[in-house]
């Protein structure tokens, strides 16, 4: 009996599959590739919008003092803490002032040591060029690098971002993969004294 039900279900599933495939085959190929291009463009646009409102540029693009005062240097958009920038040791915590950050808004000292914002551009060696969508989603969901490495350090707002939908995270990743690649090898975080 059990087996019969399974077989029936399998057949139904198989039928459904065949129907879907026939449905796909019916559609003129050109329209479907145009449709997918449009869907892709919409996803990139959604990702761009999310990156703008979720403040990624605040931390991942180095700040400079421009004509209108401090602002993210968009010529280095989302390329992270500038590798060539040398910093003196961070001052220790004084009283309730436990955190310090550099004027670029890309280097952050606190009880975790010193963290540097990552290069989110698609550069292969120094950015997210070799990342897959799964790795990106897993990083934000788990708060671990690539979903299985060390904990992503403050002030990266993992606690908030992990509540985003898969769809939104995928859109962000798709957009990040579409921006200009900038080579900038961000330093590894400095560990606190033990």
């Amino acid at each position: 009996m059990t087996q019969r039900i399974s077989t029936m279900l399998l057949t139904t599933t198989a039928l459904a599959l065949v129907t879907t495939m026939v449905g796909r085959a019916d559609a003129p190929p050109q329209t479907s590739s145009k449709a997918s291009e449009a869907a892709d463009a919409a996803q990139v646009k959604r990702g761009q919008y999310l990156v703008k409102i979720m403040a990624c540029n605040d931390c991942h693009t180095p700040w400079i003092v421009g004509a209108n005062g401090p602002e993210p240097d968009m010529t280095r958009m989302l390329s992270g803490h500038p590798a060539q920038m040398t910093l003196p040791p961070a001052p220790g915590p004084t009283g309730p002032w436990v955190m310090h950050f550099a004027g670029t808004n890309t280097a952050w000292a606190g009880p975790w040591g010193v963290s540097f914002t990552a290069n989110l551009t698609p550069d292969k060696d120094s950015g997210l060029g070799e990342w897959t969508e799964d790795m990106f989603v897993a990083t934000i969901r788990t708060g671990r690098h690539q979903g299985k490495g060390r904990v992503v350090l403050p002030p990266m707002p993992i606690g908030q971002y992990k509540n985003a939908t898969d769809e939104d995270l995928k859109a962000i990743f798709r957009y990040l993969q579409s921006i200009p690649a900038i080579r900038n090898k961000v330093p590894t975080p400095l560990e606190p004294e033990e």
Partner: protein, 355 residues
């Protein structure tokens, strides 16, 4: 059926298979061919591990085993069992990726200083999915309760100021979901009868523990491959030290660093196959520059193995470290494995040192 009844009946394994099949057949929706995993029992005593829970007698039908190259977990003592549904066998057509029957359950018990702390469990709930859980032992050591999916921090002090934590299910999956198989310690290489006597933290094979030979004899492996006994899997190596080191790296690092992992671009291939492994598998990955920079080093000058100053090797630095930002493995332990660091250092000095 209530979950508890379901799990009890799972102890009589054939029944378990039948009920999993029923769930599969009656489950609604388009994914009906895949059973939705039921809720896990809230106590270890309800998982079917024990035939008599009051005396903690392990069901004699379960198979005890011990992988020849164990994982380092801060020196925890471990015991492991597997339950295969009655009358079933493991499909070993792909020698590296054993396919376990639906209803297979694994347990792994962790003790520190003779006290049980947690018992982890893996359940094959349908054709493709495994469920992960851990049970935290109570103070009186009579039973253990299901830990939250987010894990339980600080369940036992293992060294002054260092505490063992029960990993979150996400952390279980970080290690168990990163290669072609979720099962890491029950494989052709791990159960070989040509057991490595020099394995780092190798455990004794206690009477009754299964190996390839006994599993084949009991028809638990299909198809029966006689070469598993006539030419048992063994890591080919130039010395016993090299063999032990490669085995250690295979278990402790290979779960994440292997060619099927998302980490493959790092080119660290630590996982050893049953046949045809050896230094050749890992060598190319060891003599290259890392993406990661050793703290204090000039950027982009760190190597996996540094042939000039072996101690500067990223591999050794990260094995020695238990700071969150650099430790390897990145999760699962809070104290470095000093014995392993020592073995790997001596081996690297012999193999790679260039004055």
């Amino acid at each position: 059926m209530k979950p508890v009844t379901f799990w009890r009946s799972c102890a009589a394994s054939a029944l378990c298979l039948a009920s999993v099949a029923t769930i599969a057949a009656t489950g609604a929706g388009s994914e009906a061919s895949v059973a939705r995993p039921g809720p896990l029992p809230s106590r270890l005593s309800e998982t079917g591990l024990y035939s008599d829970a009051s005396s903690l007698t392990v069901d004699p039908r379960h198979l005890a085993f011990s992988p020849q190259y164990p994982l380092w977990t801060d020196g925890a003592q471990k015991r492991r069992w597997v339950s295969l549904p009655a009358g079933t066998a493991i499909d070993i057509t792909d020698i590296e990726v054993w396919s376990f029957p639906v209803g297979t359950r694994f347990w792994k018990e962790f003790s520190f200083g003779g006290r049980r702390v947690e018992t982890r469990m893996l359940v094959k709930s349908n054709r493709t999915d495994w469920q992960f859980a851990s049970y935290a032992w109570n103070d009186t050591q009579t039973d253990a309760v299901l830990a939250p999916v987010t894990g339980l921090p600080g369940v036992a002090e293992i060294a002054p100021g260092k505490k063992h934590s029960i990993p979150s299910v996400e952390d279980c999956r970080a290690c168990h979901d990163s290669s072609r198989t979720e099962v890491l310690g029950f494989s052709a290489l791990q159960l070989s009868d040509d057991r490595d006597a020099n394995a780092i933290h190798g455990e004794p094979l206690v009477n009754g523990m299964v190996t390839l030979r006994t599993l084949l004899a009991a028809n638990r492996l299909q198809p029966g491959r006689p070469e598993l006994v006539s030419a048992p899997p063994r890591i080919p190596a130039a010395s016993s030290q090299e063999r032990a080191v490669l085995g250690y790296l295979s278990t402790n690092c290979g779960a994440c660093h292997n060619s099927n992992s998302t980490l493959a671009p790092l080119k660290l291939m630590f996982k050893q196959p049953a046949y045809g492994g050896g230094l050749g598998v890992v060598r190319a990955g060891l003599v290259r520059q890392t993406k990661w920079d050793r703290p204090g080093a000039v950027p982009e000058t760190t190597s996996v193995i540094d042939p000039v100053v072996i101690e500067h090797s990223a591999l050794l630095y990260r094995m020695r470290s238990r700071r969150p930002a650099s430790q390897m493995p990145p999760l699962g332990s809070v104290t470095p494995d000093a014995a392993a660091v020592d073995h790997v250092t001596r081996w690297a000095l012999e193999e790679f040192r260039r004055p």
